[in-house]
Point group: C2
Chain length 224, copies 2
DNA sequence: ACCTGAACACCGTTCAAGT
DNA sequence: ACCTGAACACCGTTCAAGT
């Protein structure tokens, strides 16, 4: 399967290939062996452009996030802008299911990397436009960012399962049935929401959560 | 460093040792080599009790989460109960920084495992007591769960850095300075919140986010 | 039923050597 | 400056053999 080298090796081309491997086979699909084969080169050549695997993963994550955030969307209000950015990340995680774990790993390694400020910026500037007082910008934006990444990540599981061949409704049905089978004493709530899970719309549900937080922000700060 | 075997090998003892290794050296600290050395046994013995490394990680995660959720706390209202559960998970992630990535990995693999219903149950039953209409239980609970896990995970980064010897305020100072050094055109918001980040209290900030979502839930459903 | 431990396939990374 | 590719240390997992 080794291909002739089409272009000269470069950091950008390595990252691009890494994203392809991740999309195709998930995190375990990105190995230096697979990379050298696709790029028709040796490991040493890759190490010339990239410090190590961690840096490569960070770069792949950064590239995909940057592309997702760069998309312009029509929006009529700060609330709409937040929804648009949120959906952009939601879609990116749906297209690249490995992104969810990678993002939370990178964020939980600290806000030092380049991805954290990028995401905070693209959501936070609209929180600011909402009229939230400055002292609450960080809290309000964090709540939105954490929800968006968490919820989108959960959704990525569905995307992965569907990709693997199982039908979506079949999958939700299986999970729903599993929750209904839980102990009645210990899990009354999980059993009660199992039904709700069976035929919910992912996107709708996701946006409902965003709106819930936007409402909270609006109420606490009594906007307009 | 190999120790004499103190008790008979058992699944519980393997999981317990796995947690110790994870606490000491993070996810990369959990290897079958380290495990066999501590338990004074061979890999085959461990595979008799545990199917593979993934199952072991899931079990370690489940054990720590179960312990965290089992702690009883004084609470005077459903809101207070939610805050108590949230803080319990916050503390658990602070004590076991590897838990954050593990939890989001497990949740994003789908709500099939045992951890997802456990967390949903412990938060959701109080959402129900809040008076939220049944059709919104899942959305409201999801928003809380995703925020709690995401925010606590971000906080775990601090804990890890402090553990490594760096002073907390020194660390926040460094990140804050890094954000202030970002491009003024591209990152006006990140630069503006950098200051806020410098001397925020993690716990306070975390609970403010929980309250924001609780307010959103209360407003949307016009409770009491 | 439970454990031993050598062996296997695979991984990230290094480095002396080439151009 | 950029690339080659053999070699190294380490990993998860298997399995024939023991008790």
């Amino acid at each position: 399967m080794a291909q002739r080298r089409a272009e000269a090796l470069s950091r950008a081309r390595i990252i691009e290939t890494a994203v392809e491997l991740l999309d195709a086979d998930g995190e375990s699909g990105l190995t230096f062996r697979a990379l050298t084969e696709r790029l028709a080169t040796g490991p040493g050549a890759i190490y010339w452009h990239v410090a190590n695997k961690g840096e490569l993963l960070d770069a792949a994550t950064g590239a995909v996030v940057a592309a997702a955030l760069a998309v312009e969307r029509a929006a009529e209000s700060p609330q709409d802008e937040v929804r648009a950015v949120a959906l952009g990340l939601f879609d990116a995680i749906e297209d690249h299911p490995w992104l969810a774990a990678q993002l939370s790993a990178q964020l939980s390694r600290g806000p030092a990397g380049p991805v954290a400020p990028k995401i905070f910026e693209s959501i936070g500037r609209h929180v600011r436009d909402l009229g939230v007082p400055k002292g609450s910008w960080f809290t309000a934006t964090s709540a939105l960012v954490h929800y968006v990444l968490g919820a989108a990540g959960q959704n990525a599981a569905n995307a992965r399962v569907v990709k693997a061949g199982t039908d979506r409704s079949e999958f939700l049905d299986a999970v729903s049935t599993a929750w209904e089978a839980l102990d009645a004493e210990e899990y009354p709530f999980a059993r009660a929401v199992a039904e709700e899970m069976r035929d919910h719309d992912d996107r709708e549900q996701f946006l409902a959560g965003v709106d819930l937080i936007l409402t909270g922000i609006g109420t606490v700060h009594a906007l307009d």
